[in-house]
Amino acid sequence: MNATIISYLSQSKEFNLIVAWFSELFGFDATSFVAFNLFGVFALLLIGFAATVGGLGTFAERKISADLQMRQGPNRVGPYGILQFLADGVKLITKEDIIPAQVDKFTFYIAPVLCLVGVFSALSVFPISSGFILTDLNVGIFYFLGMTSLVGVGIFLGGYSSNSKWSMLGGMRGASQIISYEIPVTITIVMMVLLAGGMSMGILVSSQGSSVLDWNLFHNPFTFIGFFVYFIAALAETNRAPFDLPEAESELVSGYHTEFSGMRFGFFALAEYIEVLIVCGIATAMFLGGYKVPFDLGTGELLNQKLGLDLMLAKNIGQFLEIGSFLTKTFALYYVVIWIRWTLPRLRVDQLMTLCWKYLTPIALFNLIGCAVWIYVFNGQSIVQLFSLLFKSSGGGH
């Protein structure tokens, strides 16, 4: 179902009032004009939301790592130190921008911008809720895969353009790591597309039910393993520890972003944290039920019928419940990502490549074949549905 956020909003009276007012002002039908402006507003809101979560992610990382190491994190700037990321942003903006003399100017300028734009533009299919997804493209997850690959290009160009041996090595290792781990991610996503029957985010999420047992995670053993394959491979794609060899702090100084200072380095760091958010969001959408609220409260029908609320109000409340459900699961996964970073030691580069090509890719291929055969043999039913059929038939026999 090709829906954008405007399709959801156009159900409300206020939107139609605004369109009517503008149509009177202009003399022609102002739907696309209002839609264009509203898209711009929501795109800005989405960028702001992602940047804030990225900044708070840096703060959360410092606080959680402090908690894991029995100390207190930053607690000076603002209540409980929560404004620390703003202070960091101001610091980065006011730092001197040193461009070494030996760099390749054009690629040096565009590398951090590529990382950031790749990550921001993947947000347009971010499935926050059924109505508030910016645009529900029918090739949603395919588009998402393409845009997050821009980060790999940005990292390699950052390393290449710096013309410093640390950066070059870091950039090449980073690029080979990212492209290697894209393969298990893509194959697992193909498996989920197979299961759901379409590439759009709406179809991927609505192939799951509301209760925990209806999540894609518990659909068949192949998707269960597939969740862990996807999570590990996507984590490796974001260059986070234990896979952070390209920016290995103790080995390569700073890897591919050694020669970048000020806001350019800020773009690389922000892109990494936003990419973790996106990876966790897509993992919830594909495996953990996305924005579905238990007992199907998200569609607003239950609220409308049982409590007798106005239909549009019930739908809006349902949307907020869906956003809450999605963000809870995403941030829980975000916590797990930060937890993993401060618990596990870093992988050596040949261990990294062995893990990808000799373990994750064969497992992902095996999952794909297994899931395809399962869907064909059992006609797309999950383990839970098969068990309930088993009990029903045996109960009926008595």
């Binding site: 006011t94 921001f120 193909v190």
Partner: protein, 138 residues
Amino acid sequence: MSTLNLDVYMPVVILIILALLVAGGSLLLSKFLRPSNPTELKLTAYECGEAPVGTAWSNFNVRFYVIALIFIIFDVESALMFPVAAVFRKFMSIGMGGTLLVSILTFVLILVAGIVYCWKKGDLDWVKSFVSQELDKK
């Protein structure tokens, strides 16, 4: 038969343009707020205090190229698998699931054979072992 509804891509274009503007805007803001005192030492590459010798744009190890090649093969495979996977359920509902399953399995098994070949030949090893070369000499 289905209409090509390109209007859904408008927010995508708007978001990309806004992201570029936000990135460029913060760099511009930084340009006004930051100091600028380039000295000769600051403009050299960083090499832990030593003076760097030569550029970094020299030969690199061929294993990066081999990894990139294997990636291309598997990426093209997955890109070609997407349309098949997207219509698998529809085909099952009209009773042609078996043919599609056979085509998926054939495609994936050919590529599994490919990765097994790469594995045996040693292309997936990051560190090429010296032991096998010495045994060959004998």
